[in-house]
Amino acid sequence: MMLRVKQFLAMAGLTALEAIRQPICLLLTAGCVVSIAAVPLTIMHLFGEDGKQVRDSAFAIHFVFGLFMAGHAAGTLLSGEIKKGTASAVLSKPVSRELFFLSKFAGIAAVILVFSVGATIATLLSERVAEKFYYTQALNGYVMDSQTGMMLFFSPFLACICAGIINYRFKRPFTSSAFWMIIIFLLIVLFVSGFFERNGQWRPYSLRLDSRIFAVSILVSLALVVLSAVAITISTRFDIMPTMILCSVIFMFGLMTDYILGRHVAESYVCGFFYTVLPNWQNFWVADALSGGGHVPWIYVLHAGLYAVVYTVGVLCLGMLSFRHTEVK
């Protein structure tokens, strides 16, 4: 049993390491943070509610970049390994196919969760940056937190410069160092932003962030984990491009499943079957619940989490069955 645990950890760790050493992983993470940081600059109208558009756009960016990361990571790290031959090298060791498959999922899910931590911090900061209407004795008008905005926007670039120095000085791989440095820089920006007001004045430390964002971000992250399970199951039989395409199709259908199938569930068994089998991303997309000062109840997050766990386990069982019979050429 201990050997199985050690093997699982070694393979999952290697998968995560391989994933974050791929330049595409760094590009997607940096791209996601920069895009979220740029959202407040593009928002010209408030429609009577501070931060809504920034939040919604940031969650959407988190979701879409995560989709590409999950699809690409699953494609390269499982189907790519089968094609490249590294899977045959590992499976010639005393490793069961089920454990190999599960460890690949665990490694990818771990990277997706770290990516989600970065996206969540960027969303929190971006929402803070978005212009807000103030009416006080000292101030009457719109204020945008430009310091935080600048720090957030440039943190991926600074992370890359630091990673370059680390690579030059200590010969550590650039991409993985930059990936971790982005997360570290985001945490630093999150901490530092607590020392000043939106209008730039220094103040005693206080983190004034919209904590309602956490619940929605957790749900988006759970959706990405489910998507990783779907992607890795597909990649047991398909190459990277078909995996990416099928993931995108499932993503689209999963968003529309309530509209397309949900209405006909009572009348048609076929619709009922596909409604159950297809992942319903609407369960995880609750950004609208924050509108008008609303929030997402934690009990809902728990129920959605349960749905994510059950769905992921089901999909992974299918994947294990498929991979058990896959011939590793």
Partner: protein, 308 residues
């Protein structure tokens, strides 16, 4: 040793057939066709054949990576798909199949952990293997930056990290320089002396001839010739005598006698060193003078745990 070789079959293959199918499950290629093999403990067994003859497919079936269409296969007395059996096997694939973003140290550490080797043993073996393969100075570089020969050395090291009973080497000398080739051949001989069984698949006939006890020649998925190397290559109808240089008069007499008794013209030449031996001597001399290099360092060292 011969007694030991007779002791037990490490691999038994009976009437093995492998048919690859297309997307619609229709037969596409018959890669292996009614193959029979019986490989004994302590043997170095060579699998020869042109490209597409079924060598790699056979090896992958022995490792449980591919499923046989029909026939039976046992490896170390068990099914090749048995996970526990694989703990006793070392496999060097045809291409080195390494994780490009890992360093040689990380690669060996990863494979060592798959065998459940504890930290101390793993570190000792990694050090010895890196030393043996001449990669100690490149242990911190990504494998993706390596030349084919250097990647091959990492591949060889990972195949030996578990001190396997059965070593399956698919084209082990491909991409290696002559020093590396000789080292791999010496390694195989040493391992066989320790009672390890080795299956060698290679296109390089000279390598196979140098080290193998028995060979099988495959063509179109079936065995066309099988037996001991000497037995297959020996020309029973002629004899070679090697002796010190003879004075011209004595030589003339000997040749005359042979002509008279045998009735055919004998062939006379000087035995020569082969190119490999000559090359190794030149490199050895150069190595004594060399100070620094970026590739794999020539080394005669063999990992201690592989000698015990």
């Amino acid at each position: 040793m011969d007694m030991e070789k007779q002791a037990g079959a490490v691999i038994e293959v009976n009437n093995l057939t492998k048919v690859f199918k297309d997307f619609w499950r229709r037969p596409k290629v018959r890669a292996v066709d009614g193959l029979n093999l019986d490989i004994k403990k302590g043997e170095i067994f060579g699998l020869l054949g042109p490209n597409g003859s079924g060598k790699s497919t056979t090896i992958k079936i022995l490792l449980g990576l591919l499923h046989a269409t029909s026939g039976s296969v046992t490896v170390l007395g068990r099914s090749p798909r048995d996970v526990a059996t694989k703990a006793r096997i070392g496999y060097l694939p045809e291409e080195s199949y390494l994780y490009n973003y890992l360093t040689p140290y990380e690669t060996l550490n990863f494979y060592g952990s798959l065998f459940g080797l504890d930290g101390r043993v793993r570190r000792e073996r990694i050090d010895q293997l890196l030393e043996m393969t001449g990669l100690k100075h490149a242990a911190g570089r990504s494998v993706g930056e390596f030349s084919k020969g250097m990647a091959r050395r990492v591949g060889l090291a990972q195949a030996l990290i578990n001190d396997p009973e059965l070593v399956i080497l698919d084209e082990p000398t491909s991409g290696l320089d002559p020093v590396g080739c000789r080292q791999v051949k010496d390694l195989m001989i040493t391992l066989a002396k320790r009672g390890k069984t080795i299956i060698l698949s290679s296109h390089l006939l000279a390598d196979v001839e140098d080290v193998c006890d028995r060979i099988a020649i495959l063509y179109n998925g079936s065995i066309r010739a099988q037996g001991g190397v000497n037995q297959l290559l020996e020309k029973q109808e002629s004899v070679r005598l090697t002796m010190p240089s003879l004075p011209p008069e004595v030589m003339r007499k000997v040749l005359e006698l042979i002509r008279k008794e045998v009735g055919k013209e004998p062939q006379v030449d000087h035995p020569s060193m082969n190119l490999e031996q000559f090359f190794l001597e030149v490199v050895e001399k150069a190595n004594r003078m060399a100070s620094q290099q970026s590739g794999a360092a020539p080394t005669e060292m063999m990992a201690d745990y592989l000698k015990k």
